[in-house]
Structure formats: C-alpha cells, structure tokens
C-alpha cells in the first residue's frame, strides 16, 4: 500500500516590538540574565498586564498579509500549566477568539519531478500570546536557573491547516511565510535567536483515504532544514509502522539532531489540561474596521507581488524572480542595482551566483556587504561593455567585497582591462600562427582542440588581456 503524509505546521514568531506584550520591559536579545524584567513579566503577586498596542498592530498586519479574517472582538485567555519558565503558572494567550481567523498562504514549490507549481496552504489562525522564560541547565551543578528576559515577549502563533504533503512543501511554506514576515517587518525571523520557532504535526494515511491518520507533534526544530529532515524521518517511521500493522501513538516527539531521529517526549495521556478561561485582567474590546483598514494600507508590496512584478518588468524567469524575492533585503538590493543602470538579467545572475556565495562563505548578510548596488552595477557594466572578461570580473568582485572599492579602480590597478584593439591582436595572432604550424595543420585537418594552443599563445603574448571573443574572430578569419 502507498502512504501519503499529512503535515501541518505551528510557527511561533516573536513580534519586533521595543517592549514586551504586557509590560514596558525591553525585548532586546542577549542582555544579562533577568535584567529585562519587572513585577509584571515576573508574575509577582498583585501585578497586572496591560496590552502593548504595537504588538497587536503587528499581529493584525501579519493576519492581513495572510488574508486572515481579522476578529471584530478581541479577547485573551489564560492557558494554565506549571513550569518554572512560566512565572504566573499561566500563559496569557488567545483560545477561542484569535485575533486572526482563517487565511491562506500561496507558495511556490517543486514537485518530486522538479516542476515548479503553486500551492495554496490554509492558515487556521494566528493569535497573540506571551513568550515564556528560558531554563538554563548547562554548567549548573545543583538545579537549573531561569532567565525571564524572554518571558512576556510578544509572540504570534501561526497555525497552518494540515494541507502540506511533503517535507519539501513544509520547507517552502516556511520560506514563504518567513519572507512575508520580513516584508511586513514584524519580526527578525532568526531561528538561532529563537525569534522564529516551528513545531510540526505529521501523520500518514493510505493514498486515497480521506480520514487523517493519528498525528504526532514534533518539537525542538531549530532550522527549516531540521524541520524538513524531521518530517522526512517521521514519515518514514510512521509508514514503516503502518506497513508492519502497528498503530501510531498520538504523542509529542522531539527531534534529536545528532542522531537524526525523533523520540517520544510525552504521550496524549500525559498531555496537559490547560484549563483555558477568559483572562479577567484584560477586558475584551472591539477592533474597529477602520483601524484594521488603516493597517491594511500600511502593508508593503508582498513577496509574491514583487516576484510577479520582477517577471513582468524585468523579464526574469519565474525561478529567478522567486529566489530573489525570498529575502526582502536581497530583492531591494537587486532593484537598487537596476536603478543604478544594471542589466536586470545580468544583475540577477551576478547576485544569485556570485555575490551571495561570496557573502555566504563569510557568513555575511547582504546588509554587511561592502559592494554597494551602485558598485555592482558598475562592475556589470564593465563586463557588458567588454572592458573586462567575465573571469576577471569574478576576481574584481572578490576584491570589491573585501575592500569596498569600486570596480573600475580595481580593474585599472590590476591592469585587467581587456585588449580589444584588433590591430594589436592581429599581430599577436599572426605571430602565434607562424610559431605553431603543427597546430594549424591539425586544426585544418578538423581537430578543433588544436586551436587552444594558438589561443594560449595569443593570450600569453597579450598578457592575458586580449578579449577572447575578438581573438577567436580574428583567428577564424586568418585560418579560413
């Protein structure tokens, strides 16, 4: 029997506010332990929460970008459970009236046979809640420590419908979602810093069966690649179990990245009864439609719209366009290059193939890049005009990235200007032909490769600066 996976993702994203969701403490990352705390986010007896309006606005903006139905009435609930990172023993969250209801996300994904297709993934809800603190176990002999700096930072939990059908789709969904969150400027989406976290719900069912199989929740996924790998592992594990006639146990499993496996954390029986009830310390209120529409007006051009525009305006391929728009900063960089007069297709190629790999190699982002869009456009122009060869250009780009100097300066400094002077090249070609009768004979006998020796000598003669295109043309003429 063939099995198909059914996957849903729960993404927690920290909203980029200066202060926490219910108090005025700073949300800055990496501060000294418990330095960004107050009676409210420490849950001291008697303290009360006050909603951060900016967090609410950012949350709604995400909802609008995901085409969610934004709630008319806003309410918070308490989710009760005991854990040392949760100082009040309840998390203020939203239970039955999330700020954002049903929505959807269109993603570009590759099928198993490599075809690009568009898929619509349903968004169940996206609600506001407060983050918990962080437990520290390492290097502590007796017990654990708690850092509440993270406690109370605003989170938006975005829950997808079980619409994803492969680990690749899950990966592409996350990529598309992250792009939207970055475009709307609501979050850093930095998984390493924990500002974006993802849990995956995975089940399998026989192909053709409508009813879902028993689902398993996977936690501790710290990168999109890990999400993809853990889902892949889980699909294989569950499929194998089904094939062996074993029942899947509803449980929460953790991904072990060292062993590359998932393992059981707790079963359904051990699951918490969160005893949700309306948070009495925050009064429900109405969200005016005007305010929501005002927020809609502030939404920027979203990744898909931008990709479509790139295809139309600049004639990029679908693939190039979607790759370029995934990172907002890269898309902006690309557009700046074009404003600086660069050829769009060349700019797209140079950014994707050369610039990004240079940056990646040094673990830099486009924001750290010393090559300004103006400078890259300059380099591209030199290549386009034939002033330097493509090969030299790569060398020049490396130098630009390292020093921040402009292309023409480096080209002059290193003497990389191509010789396109036909008179000069002609002389060198004639000299080379005269010096290589054997090669000439071989070429005339049909051996194309023999030409290499002659070209090599021409290049040597011109100090490697001869424009290869011109050399070839002249050589072919002479040997005709």
């Amino acid at each position: 029997m063939n099995y198909e996976p059914v996957i849903g993702l729960e993404v927690h994203v920290q909203l980029k506010t200066k202060s926490k969701l219910f108090c005025s403490c700073s949300t800055e990352f990496g501060a000294e332990g418990n330095s960004h705390t107050c009676p409210v986010c420490l849950g001291w007896p008697g303290s009360l929460p006050v909603l951060n309006e900016l967090a609410l606005k950012l949350g709604i903006k995400v909802g609008l970008a995901l085409n969610c139905k934004v709630a008319e009435r806003l309410k918070f609930d308490r989710k009760n459970y005991f854990y040392p990172d949760l100082p009040k023993a309840y998390q203020i969250s939203q239970f039955d009236m999330p700020v954002n209801g049903k929505g959807e996300l269109l993603i570009e994904t590759k099928t198993a046979d490599g075809k690009m297709i568009e898929r619509k993934i349903g968004v169940t809800r996206a609600h506001l809640e407060e983050d918990a603190g962080k437990l520290l176990h390492e290097g502590i002999m007796d017990g654990s420590l708690v850092d509440y700096n993270r406690g109370g930072i605003p989170l938006l939990e975005i829950v997808s419908e079980p619409d994803l059908r492969s680990p690749q789709e899950a990966y592409d969904y996350l990529t598309a979602l992250k792009a939207i969150l970055q475009y709307v400027e609501v979050s850093d989406c930095d998984m390493e810093k924990g500002s974006l976290r993802c849990d995956a719900n995975v089940s399998v069912r026989p192909v053709g069966q409508e009813k879902f199989g028993t689902k398993v929740e996977i936690k501790n996924l710290n990168s999109f690649k890990m999400v993809q790998k853990a889902i892949q592992y889980e699909i294989e594990r569950q499929t194998e179990a089904c094939e062996n006639g074993e029942a899947i146990v509803q449980e929460t499993r953790l991904w072990n990245d060292v062993k590359q496996t998932t393992f059981s954390m707790r079963s359904k029986e051990e699951a918490h009864d969160y005893r949700y009830f309306p948070e009495p310390d925050l009064v429900p209120f109405t969200l005016s439609r005007e305010a929501v529409e005002e927020l809609r007006k502030t939404l920027p051009e979203l990744p898909r719209e931008r990709a479509k525009r790139f295809i139309q305006e600049f004639g990029l391929s679908d693939y190039d366009a979607y790759v370029l728009v995934q990172e907002k900063k890269i898309a902006e960089y690309f557009e700046s290059c074009i404003r600086e007069g660069a050829n769009a297709k060349l700019a797209s190629n140079w950014i994707q193939n050369e610039l990004l790999s240079l940056l990646n190699a040094k673990n830099n982002t486009i924001e750290d890049c010393l090559v300004s869009p103006h400078a890259l456009a300059g380099l591209i122009r030199l290549v386009e005009q034939g002033t330097i060869s493509g090969k030299s250009a790569k060398e020049v780009l490396q130098e630009m990235a390292a020093t921040g100097k402009a292309a023409d300066g480096i080209v002059k400094e290193k003497g990389l200007v191509q010789v396109s002077d036909t008179g000069l090249i002609e002389k060198a070609v004639e000299k080379a032909i005269a010096a290589n009768p054997t090669a000439v004979a071989e070429f005339k006998a049909g051996k194309q490769k023999a030409l290499g020796a002659i070209v090599g000598m021409v290049m040597k003669e011109t100090g490697g600066k001869a424009n290869p295109k011109v050399v070839n043309e002249i050589l072919c003429q002479k040997l005709k």
Binding site: W44, P45, G46, V50, L51, F82, Y90, R275, P280
Partner: protein, 475 residues
C-alpha cells in the same frame, strides 16, 4: 487631654494639620501595642513617619495612620496574605492605592490580619491565628478583611483598607459595627492587590464614619493605566455628595433578601432603618431580584476558578515558601501542600475542577451566564429605585469555631453581599443597630454602577439621623 484614638479620620486630620501627626501616631502606636495581643488585628504595625515627608501637614491626610489589609503590596515591607506560602514575602513595588495614600500623606500603619488569600468570612483561615471581634472576643470579626474592620472598631487605627471579592469589606464592617465600602468594579485600581477573584476584587475603605469613607474614596478612586480593568469614569468629590438629603430618594427592599434563616434581630433592625428613611422623606419600595438564590453557587464557581489560576504562581520557584525536594514535581507538591491552608486548598481544587476539560461548559460557562442574569436583575431594579437596602449579613458575629467545620454555612454568610460583586455594582455596609446581646448589626446599601455618590448620601443621612457609630466596644 484629647483621646486621639477616638477621633474620626476627619477630626484627626484637622488635629494633625494643626499640631502635627506625631501625637496622633504615638497614641495609636500605644493603643495598638496594648490591644493587638488581645485582638490579633494587625499582623505587624509600623508607625515611623518617613523622614523626607516634612511637608506632611500640607497634604490631605496630614500624616495620620491608615492601616492596610495584608494583601496589598507595599514596597519593601513584608506582605503575606496571611499565608505561610508568602511568609517573609517582600514586594518590590507599591500597589497603586498605596502610592495614592503615600502621595496624600498617609502614614502606613498596621498591616491587617485576614483570611488566608481572602478566602473566608471569619478571619479564622489566617495562617497567623484568628483575629477577634472587639465587641466580643469569643466571636469572629467577619472576613476576609477582619483585621481591617476589627482595628477600626477597636480604635487601633483611624481607617483601614480592605478588599472585597464577595463581601470581604462589608461583612466584617457589619460584624464589627463600622462603615465599609466596596466601590464599583473598576473604580479603584487593583494593581498591587494580590488577586483572589480578578473579576470581582475591589479595594475599599473601612472607616468609623461615612464621611471618612468619602474622604478616602476621593483619594483611592480613579483610572490607572496599570490596571486594564480600571475605569476612565470621572471621579466626583464624594464628600460633596453627603450634603444633599434623601427627600424623594427611591429605596428598594429586595424581597429575596428577607428570607428564612435570617436572624430576626437583624431583619427587625434593617426594617426599622427603612422606616427611618421614610421619615427622612425617602420612598420605600419592595423590589425583586429573582436570581439572588443562585448567587452563592455562581460565585463559588467563577471566583474559585479565577482563584485557582491566580494562585498557581505560588509554586516555590520565584518567591515565598520553597520546600526543598528531590525534583521539580515534588517541590511543587510539597511547597503547595505545606504552604496553603485547608480553605485555600479547597478553593484551588474546586476552581481547578470547574475549569477542567469536560466540566468547563457545565460549570464555569454556565456560571458566567447566570452572572449575566444577576447583573440584569440589578439593571431592572435600578430602573425603579435609586438605592437598594438590605441586611449586610444574615447574622451578627458568630462564635469562633462555630462555622469553621461547615464550609457551606460559612459561604452562606456572604449571601447578601455576593450579588453586588457578581454585578460589579457599588455597595456598602453601615452600622444600623445592636442585638439584645450588644453585637453590632450592619445594613447594606447598593447603587447603580459608578453612583457611589447616591449610596454615600443615603448612608450619611441615616448615620447622622441615628448616630449608631458613636457607640464603642468596651476593651
């Protein structure tokens, strides 16, 4: 020589403005030291005037001593909610009402005994021993703000703050023969009040006279950006409201509040009060609040649900008691087992149960629906009358231990006070007479949301006519 302790708040402020607060404070320090071993009204008291406040005399409260229920956070002072789990707990901040009192020039004096976490109607559930009724030391002062009411009644303090979730200001005020006001929900900021039932809790004054309550309400009320449930409603000068008489005021007597089981002397006294109002020109009407009988049940579902969640934070991790144990789970169990008293445990269990999966709809949700019905009862009634008059408590002060073993009997002593908390309306208790055995009887006045003025006006007119408050317990 003036007996400073016998002064009302207003009188004491006048004295302090003229001669400074020190003589007044000295007198109270002496009396509190003398009487507290007998009454156990204060868990601790401290009458040191902060040295920086040399301008005391120009401030509204002029440095006079006010006492505070021990569930209100005071920066740098121990605050325990009369619970072992918070013994030695020192809050790092002031409750908003404490800031307001300090700004108004109060000297924070005693910290008053109470039922543990305000769970009780007798002050017997205090982890630090019961407080006693100044009128009869074998009887309870009521609760949960028993220490606040007893200390005011015994002239150990000029006035005190209490908190009222289901009658915790009014019932002890009635049982101790003093004035106690529960303002409209949202009138006074709850920031810094250690929560019991967050959608019910209100802070209010317990004083010797209605005028004293009005003076304190002027200081305590008002919107607070730190409490999202506090109301932006304008705060009038409550002392001005006292100047009007009650001619033409429509006063309702709810028939559901005069039921079997009510002490005949209490009923007689409250009915006599209605006659006095008539004499003063008010109009007395019998009204109906048909859902009253469900009040106690609804309250013990919704309030304990909130309480069970509010008390989750006392887990031994950050503050308060921690019983060292072999692992986290056992630490939670041991800390909460040893830290909480019987009644607290009972309410945590009840609250946890009514919120549990499978029971939530049947209890919590239904409770909330009935709560709406009770609120509507009042809305309807206030179309016919301006103020509602009833007994505060069905009985006068009962014996210590009398109801301790019977939680239901104890819960029923709040039967007349709970509805106002369910509806969020203002309510107060004032002394209206004494039993033949010499125990104080209190009557309750309730009014429309944010109409404390009319309520205070009615209370003041009666008080001035009858003068019950002038009688003091023999101590």
């Amino acid at each position: 020589m003036t007996d400073f302790c016998a002064l009302t708040l207003r009188e004491a402020i006048e004295v302090a403005k003229k001669d400074g607060a020190q003589p007044v404070l000295d007198a109270f320090a002496k009396r509190a030291a003398e009487l507290n071993p007998k009454l156990n009204a204060f868990l601790r008291f401290d009458d040191r005037i902060p040295p920086t406040r040399c301008d005391m005399g120009t401030l509204p409260l002029a440095g006079v001593p006010i006492s505070i229920k021990d569930n209100l956070c005071i920066d740098g002072r121990e605050v325990t909610c009369a619970s072992k789990i918070l013994a030695k707990h020192v809050p790092p901040y002031d409750a908003t009402v404490i800031t307001k009192l300090k700004t108004a020039g109060a000297t924070l004096f005693g910290q008053c005994n109470m039922d543990e976490f305000a769970f009780g109607s007798s002050c017997e559930t205090s982890a630090f021993g019961p407080c006693k009724n100044p009128w009869d030391l074998s009887r309870v002062p009521g609760g949960s703000s028993g220490g606040s009411a007893a200390s005011v009644a015994a002239d150990m303090t000029l006035a005190a703050l209490g908190s009222d979730t289901g009658g915790s200001i009014r019932q002890p005020a009635a049982l101790c023969g003093v004035v106690g006001v529960k303002p409209t929900y949202g009138r006074v900021s709850r920031y810094g009040l250690i929560a019991f039932g967050s959608s019910f809790d209100q802070i209010g004054p317990i004083t010797k006279t209605v005028e004293d309550s009005a003076i304190l309400l002027n200081i305590l009320c008002g919107h607070d950006s730190k409490d999202s449930t506090s109301s932006p409603e304008k705060v009038p000068d409550f002392t001005q409201a006292l100047k009007r008489d009650v001619k033409g005021l429509r006063i309702g007597l709810p028939k559901e509040y005069f039921i079997a089981g009510i002490d005949p002397e209490v009923e007689k006294s409250v009915r006599a009060a209605a006659e006095i109002y008539k004499k003063l020109g008010a109009e007395i009407k019998t009204i109906s609040l048909p859902h009253t009988e469900h009040s106690v049940a609804v309250y013990y579902i919704v309030a304990v649900a909130e309480a069970s969640s509010n008390l989750g934070r006392f887990d031994g991790v950050e503050y308060g008691l921690r019983v060292p144990s072999k692992d986290l789970r056992e630490m939670y169990f041991e800390t909460r087992d040893q830290g909480f008293g019987q009644e607290a445990k009972r309410r945590i269990l009840l609250g946890t149960f009514v919120l549990s999966a499978g029971y939530y709809e049947a209890y919590y949700l239904k409770g909330q629906k009935v709560r709406t019905l009770i609120r509507q009862d009042f809305e309807k009634a206030f179309k016919e009358v301006d103020v509602i008059l009833s007994p505060t408590s069905p009985t006068p002060a009962f014996k210590i231990g009398e109801k301790a073993a019977d939680p239901i009997a104890m819960y029923l002593s709040d039967i007349f006070t709970i509805p106002a908390n369910l509806a969020g309306i203002p309510a107060m208790s004032i002394p209206c007479g004494f039993t033949s055995g010499g125990l104080p009887i209190g009557m309750q006045l309730m009014a429309r949301p944010f109409d404390e003025s009319t309520m205070l006006r009615a209370a003041y007119a009666f008080e001035q006519e009858v003068g019950v408050y002038k009688k003091k317990p023999a101590l």
